[in-house]
Amino acid sequence: MSNFSVSFRHRDDICVLDLTGELDAHTAAEFEAALQKCVTEGDCKLVVQGKDLQYISSAGLGVFMAFIEPVRDGGGDIKVAGLQPRVFTVFDLLGFPLLFDILDTEDEAVARFNGSPADQS
């Protein structure tokens, strides 16, 4: 029934999480486990690649909220890249662009890590 999957890639010291499918209340646990794994393994520079993400519910957004603090405390950040317009709307409505770096492409997100430090207000 679950049509959500998450996989890991590494680009240098940055961990890229590819999200595919629909991130809702049922699949949020899977994403949460993936992020937990990153944090446990000490990966703090995270890029969430969302070009194949079809849908996100408030429970899915809640996972981002849950992890942003420990990740930033560890000196890293969660950056979101490549969201489809429909999914971006959900992020945008809640005001996520004010809290997260949401970028058009994965390369931009990686560059943001490597270039200027995260300019979070």
Binding site: D24, A25, S57, M65, L93, L99
Partner: protein, 735 residues
């Protein structure tokens, strides 16, 4: 007329009963035998021919002695029970021991002498040997009879016992009929007739072999060996008797004297008849065992299943309570006699552990059961193969920790598997090594299968109970939550309000409220707590509390949302947040001021213009502790015109999907509201929901749904009409 008592029954009843009676019998036999021994020795020493009367007395006395010994031995043999294998084994040992003793004695005696004139012992040495050996041979015959008796009387009827008694009686009578004869004389016609008559009950008894059928293969083999051995022993003694008799008179070689015949011809005949019957019986037993061997497997299977199903019949009548069930399952192999101890280890994911736990034990304590074997390893192995594990020599297995003192000889581990799910294992143990026969394992396996089925039923039942309990609690929570929503809406001059709310689950995360703020102002709040269920309901209740207490403190929607954010953020879990839209209608000024905390944009429709989505900036509640929230929050002020329609809603409305997976979306929503804008608020709401449900093609709502439609029927705002392209202005909530 009084009925005549049965002679045999009468005879039995004449025998003294109880322990005292038993002692009396033994004493009587000893006294009688002593008298006979003295008489024999005396007459042998005198050397003169004895009268017929004396001989008859000795013979009758000897038959009496044999009878007394038979009855005196009865309690001892009866106490030993009716297990065929044990009976045969004991018979073999006793008879073997007696024979050995007799052989040794004959070796010491050397040559025996018979006085041809008296037909008694020729010298004192022979006389002593005669007395001792006559006693032993009689004992041997009694042992044989008593050993065969429980086998013949296995599942006896009254008739069987009568025939057994008739056989002994005719033997005794035939022996008595020779009482007057010399040892060498030919038997009389009466004797032959009586012997002939005794053949019928002998043959009948020799074919009473019902005890063989239920034996296991191994027990049959053992019984066959024991019977053959017994037949050999009997044959040896009989052979000795016949060889001795054939030599008839004169002097005998030491091992060939028919001593018992020398002692008393009648006693000798009793011994011979008994041994002939014993030989007949053991030979038929050996042959019958041999023929029954091939059918053992099928029979064993059958009895095993019968036993298991019998136990299961009791099991299925049990209540579907797991604790009671596991007690019954662990107790049944012991009750059925298949094992001496049994215990059951279950994997219960509900307990949060995948380690199997010993939940019930019978014939052993749970602590011992855990100590004796490596439960986890065995459960894992048996669940993996779904085949029973049978350890004939338990101590040799690395998974068994029992020491010698624990008396764990053999162990059977049966998987409890039903519907492809493994529930754990049933352990059965015996002190004896190789204690489990094929039929035992078959019975245990069938039993374990059915027990697993019963467990799965119990678990389903438990789940159903739990579900029902949860459903009841949810229904109750839903009822409580329903009361949190406004029961009546305030009447607002010039404003129509229509509301629809529909939870996707029993407990929703949606909230709306309308409050009269005084001075012609009314606040309308629509909020959505992230997530559903109990946690969402708690946050919703908290939000209501904040709204009820703080809404009246300010006429600015932004100020209220900031207050709500600061009040709620500390108590919200890190991943929880609330999105809300709060609008205030000022009926005197003719304005609608709305602020959005991360919530879906309000749809605004107007006569001859629009529609618009009012989506000024604003973070969701709980995303930021305060400063950022306040800094980014914007208010949108609409200068009302008659017929303006505002639709506030939660994301359940726009996220409804059709069968292609497309969302209803903002475009369809604004179009629908635009098309419906001229109608009354309730009709707009109804039409909107029809449109949305029609789009969703009857798909179940994935999220809660709340829709509030406001329609402004008041006057136009003429006081302060700014010159803008859009009918609203946007300003920071906190300047």
């Amino acid at each position: 007329m009084p009925e005549l008592p049965q002679p045999i029954v009468q005879f039995r009843s004449l025998l003294p009963a109880g322990r005292a009676g038993h002692i009396a019998l033994v004493v009587a036999a000893a006294v009688l035998f002593s008298a006979l021994a003295v008489a024999h020795s005396g007459f042998s020493l005198i050397g003169a021919p004895v009268t017929s009367l004396t001989r008859a007395l000795i013979n009758v006395g000897s038959v009496g002695f044999a009878t007394l010994v038979y009855f005196a031995a009865t309690p001892w043999f009866e106490r030993a029970g009716y297990d065929p294998l044990r009976t045969l084994w004991r018979a073999l040992l006793t008879a073997g021991g007696l024979l050995m003793a007799m052989v040794v004695l004959r070796m010491f005696v050397g040559e025996g002498q018979m006085n041809p004139r008296t037909s008694l012992s020729g010298d004192i040495e022979t006389a002593i040997a005669t007395v001792v050996l006559a006693f032993m041979e009689t004992s041997f015959a009694v042992v044989i009879l008593h050993s065969i008796r429980p086998l013949v009387l296995f599942r006896r009827t009254r008739v069987t016992r009568r025939i057994w008694q008739a056989m002994l009686a005719t033997m005794g009578l035939a022996a008595l009929s020779t009482a007057l004869l010399l040892p060498s004389a030919n038997p009389s016609l009466v004797t032959s007739l009586l012997l002939f008559v005794s053949v019928a009950p002998m043959v009948y008894c020799a074919f009473r072999l019902g005890w063989i059928v239920p034996l296991t293969f191994r027990h049959k083999l053992m019984s066959m060996v024991f019977s053959a051995g017994l037949a050999g022993l009997i044959g040896l003694v009989l052979f000795q008797q016949f060889v001795g008799l054939a030599s008839a008179v004169g002097s005998f070689a030491g091992d060939r004297v028919p001593y018992v015949h020398l002692f008393s011809r009648s006693l000798g005949e009793i011994v011979v008849f008994s041994l002939v019957f014993g030989l007949l019986y053991t030979i038929t037993a050996v042959l019958s065992l041999l023929f029954h061997l091939p059918t053992t497997q099928a029979f064993a299977q059958q009895t095993g299943e019968i036993r298991a199903f019998k136990a299961l019949a009791e099991l299925s009548s049990e209540v579907l309570d797991r604790d009671q069930l596991v007690e019954t399952i662990s107790g049944s192999p012991v009750l059925a006699g298949i094992a001496e101890s049994a215990w059951i280890a279950l994997i219960d994911p509900a307990s949060g552990s995948l380690t199997p736990q010993v939940v019930a034990a019978s014939g052993v304590t749970k602590q011992d059961a855990i100590r004796l074997v490596a439960i986890e390893a065995l459960v894992e192995d048996v669940a993996h193969s779904t085949m029973p594990i049978l350890l004939g020599t338990a101590a040799a297995d690395h998974r068994v920790r029992a020491t010698h003192g624990d008396h764990l000889g053999s162990l059977a581990v049966l998987p409890l598997v039903a519907g492809g799910q493994s529930y754990g294992a049933l352990f059965a143990a015996k002190a004896m090594t190789d204690g489990f026969e094929d039929d035992d394992v078959a019975a245990l396996a069938t039993f374990a299968g059915q027990a697993a089925l019963a467990l799965s039923h119990a678990s389903l039942f438990q789940d159903a109970l739990e579900k029902e309990r949860l459903a009841r609690e949810l229904a109750l929570a839903r009822e409580v939550q329903q009361r949190l929503l406004p029961q009546t809406l305030p009447e607002i001059e010039g404003v129509e309000i229509a509301v629809a709310e529909h939870p996707a689950q029993e407990i929703a995360g949606d909230y709306y409220d309308v409050v009269d703020l005084g001075e012609g102002c009314f606040g309308i709040l629509v909020a959505d707590v992230a997530g559903k269920g109990a946690a969402a309901a708690f946050y919703m209740a908290q939000l209501k509390g904040v709204f009820q207490s703080a809404a009246k403190m300010t006429a600015s929607p932004g100020a209220f949302l900031a207050l709500a954010n600061e009040a709620l953020t500390p108590s919200l879990a890190r991943r929880a947040f609330i999105s809300a839209t709060y609008g205030i209608v000022d009926t005197r000024e003719g304005t609608f001021t709305v602020a959005r905390a991360g919530h879906c944009p309000t749809v605004m429709a107007r006569e001859g213009d629009g529609p618009w989505l009012l989506r000024a900036d604003g973070l969701g509640i709980g995303l930021d502790a305060g400063p950022l929230f306040r800094r980014t929050l914007r208010e949108q002020v609409v200068h009302l015109s008659p017929g303006d329609v505002f639709t506030l809603y939660t994301d359940g409305l726009v996220e409804a999907r059709n069968n292609e997976g497309d969302e209803y979306g903002y475009e369809r929503l604004t179009d629908a509201v635009h098309d419906l804008r001229k109608r009354a608020a309730t009709d707009i709401l109804a039409g909107l929901l029809v449109d949305q449900r029609g789009f969703a093609e009857g798909n179940q709502l994935a999220d809660d749904l709340t829709v509030v439609v406001l329609k402004w029927n008041g006057t136009a705002n003429l006081l302060d009409h700014p010159e803008t392209a859009e009918p609203f202005t946007i300003r920071p909530a906190f300047a």
